[in-house]
Point group: C2
């Protein structure tokens, strides 16, 4: 990484951490040049980058200042889903989303795709190529059912950052987090069982419950602190819940990070009612703050937390490498893994193990974290500027998705249909609910580096929403 | 491939096809040299290779002769499993087999591993490497849920050889045949449903039924013609069977190819009782005869056959690329695929599509087919030579596994434990039964080119079996 980029990142994180306040004057170019031992032009480049990202603004003859606080859309209210277990619907809409083949004429804001264009991923591609040239052809053999041992060692090391002390033998490699989720659910539940979920919740997990014949009980969820423990306790009292399934760190779709104290309280609750917890941590490493938040799993002292994750969001989804730390359910999860795919493709596992072992993972994460954080700010600005007034939006603390709430009566399915003609697609809110709630909501991806084309697409979403709202009112 | 190898293959297949009879004199070295326009020493090398493979034998001063018919072990009798649906056991033994990490000091005759050392696989490794170097990095993106379109086109073309006329839209790519099996079973059945299976039957399929909560009804199966249609019909009359699950072409573990007329009759039966058929064709392309046998799917006119397959046995299992042609169950299978892994790793799919499109698949198959056929002959010879008299064995018509039956009272679990000390492992028969039958049977792999070390391993199996039998009798 270049010098100016490093410096910009450093200054950026000081601003984010509040070391410099909005409107406050920043150190002079000369002072920074001396402090960091870099040239004046390097500092100027760094400031220009921060300016491009809207973090600082220059004032003629006075130097650089921290940009004034941006105007943010209001937060959505805490969700209020139906308080009873339901069969899950919405498969058609999910299929429409996941079936969509990339089209050059459509800007897809709906999918959960990270940015895979970063130069920090190059060593991974190199490793993938090298493995194919190795004489012992390790990519061709059946992998061990637990997954490649080198990779599990590296994962165990990475998990230390979230407070987990596990060994390679505590992990099972899976074909993406999807397989981790379905193996976990089948390891813990029988068809007909009730699973409590945060709400809104990742559509893939919801469809897994559907496909395996479980019922979902959606729990009210706060856009800042996550699943309501009070509502969850009531539900635990009232229903024979088998499993609590949540994404507490950098939630999909809302982006919140559940505070550590609430994570602990959730675990205590699960222990009291003797239920298992499926903790989906697929975005956890993409928290904007460093060190990354702790997992519930890191507090787990009786093996009831099954942590599911993957490299799909941190590295690239096409690799299809995930894992589960199944606690006391290890044997059951192994059986489920065996019947689901036998083993996971070898070459991607080996390449990722290489990539981490050679020290490329953390620099890559650092870069993506700050890119995504800037992407979030940019996307929030765009929503403020281009969306109907009264639009609410989440405040993601990690990851690369924004959750947007339009007026109660609005239908984002209609919106998406109208948007297709304009070459833009979003994820409709209803797929994030077991019962088709959140029809007035949508999710947008801000992973890619901002361009005029993407801004144009977001503006289209806002303007089309406004138009539909107007015709709605005209029809009243 | 070298000249002498090509010539040996040609002569070998003429012998196999009966053009030259056992004991008959073969063309002279000089005649072949003229006929094929190769040097005398090339012909001599070819004959030496055939001699090594036991196909020809030299007689001093008279030239080469086709080897006399070998003495073959007797066939196992038709199987007689319990005639009622049972819950499936044996997970521990399967886990022991699939968990075993390759050890240099253990010769693993038990696993279903093809030979991946063939030079005809080189272009596949090249493609894998090239994809990682492509600037558009196709391997990093989420694949379409149906699987890569280029690959599905190639698979549809290959399937013409088995008589199937399908388009890419009729196929779903899976993470190995394992995923094809589990998606299929879950698409057709509910927990508690009864599935009729051939017996003995692939342990992975059996464990999938177990993991998904189905009951298996094992049907008597003939070692030459496959599942007994008479027994199956009785079962269909008596039980509410939902699905018939079989591997009719190059069966695992027995190697038979169900005759075409019986395949048709089976389909008619399924139509009459309105049940679905899961046809596992994972070894079908490895039939020793060319053209390869037709699939039941190729006769299917109402979409009730779900064909499951993969490239694990024909190319390499570490790639984890399989597929299902789910007929009328397409939508259900897609849902099950989505919840099971989301999508399949991209890079291996693209590499295989390349490999086939560039014309490398058929030459590779030709080579493996003849290698495996010679491997079978060699393995049968070894069993005749080194196993206790009275040992029975299957007559594989394709693939690379031999099924061996020892006296009724024999316990191959004990055998395997004794063998571990000698650095040899086999697959115990009981995992091929839902109810732990076939304890006196074992399966051995003959994929690798024969070496003295492998012969030593097979001899150890035979001699250890003999020793155990003797102590058994001594104890009577
Ligand atoms: C919360 C969450 N869990 C799991 C997944 C699935 O991840 P993978 O692509 O590794 O299967 C996603 C991806 O969309 C997700 O958002
Ligand atoms: C009959 C049969 N079906 C399916 C499989 C599994 O194939 P895959 O490795 O592609 O999952 C095997 C492999 O052992 C097999 O023998």
């Amino acid at each position: 990484m270049t010098l100016y980029f490093n410096l910009a990142e450093l200054l950026g994180s000081r601003i984010e951490q509040g070391l410099y306040r909005p409107g406050q004057r920043l150190p002079s170019v000369r002072a920074l040049s001396v402090e960091h031992g870099v040239s004046l032009s390097t500092v100027q480049q760094a400031y220009r980058l921060l300016e491009d990202n809207g973090l600082v603004s220059p004032r003629p003859k006075s130097g650089y200042f921290v940009a004034e606080d941006r105007q943010l859309p209001a937060l959505p209210a805490i969700s209020r889903p139906a308080q009873r277990p339901v069969d899950i619907s919405q498969w058609e809409q999910v299929l429409e989303l996941v079936r969509a083949t990339p089209r050059p004429d459509v800007i897809q804001l709906g999918r959960g795709m990270p940015d895979v264009d970063s130069p920090t991923l190059k060593p991974l591609l190199r490793s993938l190529a090298q493995i194919s040239r190795r004489m012992d052809m390790p990519g061709l053999y059946y992998d061990n059912i637990h997954g490649n041992a080198l990779l599990r060692e590296q994962i165990a090391r990475l998990m230390l950052d979230s407070g987990c002390r596990l060994g390679p033998a505590d992990l099972v490699v899976t074909t993406g987090c999807h397989e981790a989720l379905s193996c976990t659910i089948r390891a813990v539940c029988e068809p007909g069982d009730i699973v409590a979920v945060d709400s809104p919740s990742f559509h893939g997990a919801m469809q897994t419950l559907k496909g395996l014949g479980m019922k979902a009980l959606e729990i009210p969820t706060d856009p800042i602190t996550g699943i309501s423990l009070e509502a969850l306790e009531l539900a635990l009292e009232q229903w024979p819940i088998k499993l609590i399934q949540i994404t507490p760190s950098c939630n999909n779709p809302m982006g919140y990070i559940m505070p550590e104290a609430r994570k602990k309280a959730l675990l205590t609750l699960a222990q009291r009612y003797d239920v298992a917890i499926l903790e989906d941590d697929v975005y956890g490493d993409l928290a904007y703050t460093y060190p990354r938040p702790r997992t519930i799993k890191s507090f787990d002292d009786d093996g009831r937390v099954l942590l599911c994750s993957s490299f799909s969001k941190t590295l690239a989804p096409g690799l299809r490498v995930g894992w589960v730390a199944p606690g006391r359910y290890l044997e059951r999860v192994l059986h489920m893994k065996y019947i689901s795919t036998g083993s996971t493709a070898c070459q991607p596992q080996l390449a990722i193990a290489d990539f981490i072992a050679q020290g490329h993972y953390q620099p890559h994460l650092r870069r993506m974290r700050s890119q995504y954080q800037r992407g979030r700010d940019q996307m929030c600005d765009w929503v403020t500027r281009h969306f109907p007034s009264g639009t609410r939006a989440s405040r993601p603390q990690g990851g690369f998705m924004l959750w947007v709430e339009l007026p109660e009566s609005f239908d984002t399915l209609r919106l998406n249909r109208a948007l297709l003609e304009q070459g833009v697609q979003i994820a409709v809110g209803s797929i994030f609910s077991a019962s088709g709630k959140y029809r007035n909501c949508l999710r947008m991806n801000f992973a890619a580096r901002p361009t005029a084309q993407i801004e144009g697409a977001v503006r289209s979403v806002g303007e089309t929403a406004l138009r539909l709202l107007d015709t709605e009112h005209a029809g009243e």
